[in-house]
Amino acid sequence: MVERSGNGQSRRGFLKAGLAGGAALAGSLAAGRVLAADDPAITQIQDWNRYSGDGVDAHPYGMPSPFEKDAVRRNVAWLTADPVSSVNFTPLHKLDGIITPNGLCFERHHGGAAVVDPAKHRLMINGLVEKPLVFTMDDLRRFPRVNKIYFLECAANSGMEWRGSQLNGCQFTHGMVHCVMYTGVLLKDILAEAGVKPAGKWVLAEGADSAAMTRSIPMEKALDDCMVAFAMNGEALRVEQGYPVRLVVPGFEGNMWVKWLRRLEVGDEPWEQREETSKYTDLLANGKARHFTWAMDVKSVITNPSPQAPITHGKGRLVLTGLAWSGNGTVARVDISTDGGRNWKPARIDGPSLPMALHRFYYEMDWDGSEMFLQSRAMDEKGFVQPTKQQLRAVRGANSIYHNNGIQTWYVDTNGAAENVEIS
C-alpha cells in the first residue's frame, strides 16, 4: 500500500499553475479564429527588434535562452540523506530528438562529483594480465578512437514507482536516463595492450572518486562493445559524468558505467562489491534476490503531454511525443493507447534508430477534448514487449526497486492537465 500525503490543496495548485498561462493563450490564439484586435506581438516593435543584442564573446561558453530556465535538472530532496550521495533527474519533458544536452544529463554520485585534474589522472590495468600498465590521458588518446551514441539508464529509474504512482512528472518518474554521443577508445584495445591471461574472466572497474566506485564486468561484455570514453557530444566529459574519463557499458545499468575511471583489474571471479550485492540486486516476493541483473529492459514513456507539460492549446491538432529504448538493441516499434491500454495504434519513430540508444517517437492526432489515459508501449528488436506495472508486480513483488520498465499511464483531463496514475 502507498501512504497518501492527503495534500489535495497543493495538488490543485500544481495543476492550476501548469494551466494558467496556457488557457489564456488557447482562448485568444486558437487556430483559424479571427482576433478581435491585432496581435501586439506583431504590431508593436519589440526590444529585440530595435536594440542590438550582445556582441560575440558576451558568453564564451554559450548558455540556453533565459526563457528556457525551467529546462533544468531537479532533485527530490527527501529521497536520500544527503546530496553528496544522491540523484537528480533529466528534464525529459523539455527535450526533443534523441540527444541529451550535456548539462541536462541526470547525475547520480555516491560520494559527490569528483573534480579530477587530468594531468594527475592515471588509468591502471592490473591483475591477470601479461603486463600491468599505467596510462596517462595523453596515452589514452593515442589508441584508435570510436564515436557511439548510447543511452545510459540508472537501474533505479522509475524505482520509486514500483508500488504505485508517486511522482508527478516524467522528469521524476523516468528522468534517470540520458543519451549522448561518446568519443573514446574500445575497452578491448586497452585490455589487449596489457594482454589478458586466459584465466581472466572478469574486469573490475574502479573510480577515482571518494566512493572509489567499483563494479565487476563480465569479460564477454568487456571485449564486446565497452568503451573508455573521454568526450560526450563532442566536448570533454562533464565533471558530473566522470571527467576526464568514464567507462561506457552499452545497454547495461548505469551504475556499471564507472565514472572517473582509474583502474581496471582482470580476475577469474567477480568481486561481489557493495554495488552488486547490497545494491543493484532485485529482491523478489519470495525473499530471493536476483543478482547481476545488468541489461536494461525495453521501456518507453510519453514525455509530452505529461504532468509537467500539460496540453495548453485546447482541442484539435495534438503532437504526442516520447522516448523508447532497450538494452537489447534497437526499438522495433512503439504503440500508443489513449484509452488505458484497451486499444493501440503504432507511433512513428523519427530520427536515427541505433542499438542501445534512445528512440524518439511521435503520434499525431486530433484531440476532441475528452479525457484520455495515455500510454506508450515499446517492443525491441528481440521481440520483448514492455509489460504493465501490474504484470511486473505479479511476477516480482513490490520490493524489486530496480529495473521497473512498466508502462506509464498519464491521465489527461478535459482541460489538458496530466497526472501520473495507475488504472485498472
Partner: protein, 379 residues
Amino acid sequence: MSRFPEIALAAALAALCLSGPAYAGDPAAGEQVFKRCKACHAVGDGAKHRVGPELNELIGRTAGTAEGYRYSSAMEKAGAGGLAWNAETLAKFLDDPKGMVKGTKMSFAGLKKPADIDNVIAYVATFSKPSEAMDAAPKPEDKKTEAAPTEPKEESARAEPVKPAVAAAPAGEGGGLNYHLGRTATAGEIAAWDIDVRPDGVGLPDGSGTVAQGEKLFDAQCSSCHGDFGEAVGRWPVLAGGQGTLKDDRPVKTVGSYWPYLSTVYDYIRRAMPFGNARSLSDDDVYALTAYVLYLNDIVTEEDFELSKANFGTIEMPNAQNFIADDRAEEPQYLANKNNPCMTDCIAGVAKITMHAEVLDVTPDVQDGDDKKPSAGIE
C-alpha cells in the same frame, strides 16, 4: 550577513584587500578541502544544520552555540569554558578534533596536512563578518606553515604542451603489447590502489581487530550517521537488524539480513567509509569495524571476538544462499506476447483510476526535512 551595514562592510572589505590576505591559507584551495566537511556541514547562503552545525559566522562564535543545533555536552562545556572559534583554535580543533574537545561527536579524524587546515579556515572565514575575521586572523609572523603556492593564471590562447607529472616511458620501453602505449605499473602503485577483497579472501590484508575495538571506532567515527547500534540516524543507511524481513511488505535490507558476503563489508568500509573521509582507516581498524558490524547483527556474539585474515573465511552470512541468477528473459509477461503485442480490445471494460501520484507538488523548492516522504526512496 545582512545585519551588517553595507557601508561598513564595504569599508571593511576595502581594508581587507589593502592589508592583503588576512589568513595564512588560500580560500579557493580551502573550498576544495571543505568538500571533506560537506558531508556534515553546510556554509554559505541558506546553510542549515546537518550532521554538524552550519558554519556561517563561525569566526568569533563561542563553541557549541549555533542556534537550533544539538551539540554534545562536551562541545557545550568547551564553549561555556570560554572556547571561541578563531584561526588558532580552529587549527587546533581541525588537527585533532577529539584530542582538543574530548567527547565531541564530530566523527572526523582531523586534517593531516597543515596547509589544508589553513586553507579550509581561510575558506570558512569568508562566510564570517570581515571585521571579526580580521581580528581573529593570526599575524603573519605566527604563520606556522607556508601558504599553498598559487599558480599563475595562463592567459595565452596558444596551447602549450603540458608536461605530465610523471614522464611517460618512451615507446617500446615498458609500454603495452600492441601500440606500445603506457608504461609498466610498479608494485608500489598496484599496492596503493588494488585494495579490493573477494569472497574467497583474495585481497585481504594481514591484520586483525576485535569487537570491542570496533565499538570504540564505530562510536567515534560511524554512529553520527549510522546510529549507536547501526539503526541509522534519519535517512542514512541502516547497518543492522532486519533479519527475517525479506519477504515482508517492508523488508529491511542490512549487512545482517541481506548481504551475501563478509568480504564486501571489509572491502566497502576500507574503500568508502567513513563517508567524506574515505581511506583514513588502518587495515586493523577495518577488521575491528567489520567485527563490530557482525556483532551489531548478532552474527558474532562475544565482545572479545577477534576477526583476522586467518578466520575471515569461517564466517557465514545468514542470507548467503538467497541470491539467484538473472532470469528476467523467462518471465511470463515477456514470454506471453513476445514479438506479438496485442493491438485491439486488450483489456475488458473501461479504464478506472486506482491510484493517483502521491506527491503532486514535486518542485525544486521542496524543503529539506519536508515530511512528505513517499513510501520508497532511492537506494
